[in-house]
């Protein structure tokens, strides 16, 4: 089945810093979603981005489907950005396959 790798596994930032999270996947995909899992465990949708670039406030994402990767950019990070960021893809079936996540800690 399709494999999803996320890097880095852990990231510690000072408030105000920028960061880039990466997601590599092993096969062509029909769907790619980025999620933020908050400290209470809720998975919050950030982007639905099987290809192209999208922006939402301080967050933006780019997926290059032909090269099988996606990037999530966080600018001017805030302490509330802390949590785990997951990339999930859908290939030939309807299920989402998740990576192991990037744990982000933003210190004040």
């Amino acid at each position: 089945g399709i494999q999803v790798e996320q890097s880095p596994p852990d990231l510690i930032l000072q408030e105000g810093a920028n960061s880039t999270l990466r997601c590599n996947f092993s096969d062509s995909v029909n769907n790619l979603q980025w999620f933020h899992q908050n400290p209470w465990g809720q998975l919050i949708n950030l982007f639905y981005i099987p290809s192209g670039t999208k922006q939402n406030g301080r967050l933006s994402a780019t997926t290059v489907a032909t090269e099988r990767y996606s990037l999530l950019y966080i600018s001017s990070s805030q302490t509330t950005d802390s949590g785990v960021y997951f990339c999930a893809v859908r290939g030939g079936s309807e299920k989402l396959v998740f990576g192991k996540g990037t744990k982000l800690t933003v210190n004040p």
Binding site: V4, Q33, W40, G41, A88, S93, K95, L96, V97, G99
Partner: protein, 112 residues
Amino acid sequence: GAGVSQTPSNKVTEKGKYVELRCDPISGHTALYWYRQSLGQGPEFLIYFQGTGAADDSGLPNDRFFAVRPEGSVSTLKIQRTERGDSAVYLCASSFGTDTQYFGPGTRLTVL
């Protein structure tokens, strides 16, 4: 409108007992998914419903796990003869067609 809701939020049971976990999807969403998340891992797929039927149950770990969606809306995940290894957060998601999946808050299951 309301998001995906799941009940109970926490469930503690003893090894060997039977449990039921409930999911209420977003109104109008035709597809419903169950995932399981162990500590430090990403969610893993269990089963997918399109309408009332289970279109893909390839992620169910064994025959102790079963799920139903009798009227094409609410779904129940049923676990028989629970084992300590079943302890995890069980997540439900719904979508309209095969579009963006929206997740509920999860049920934390602890098997003692």
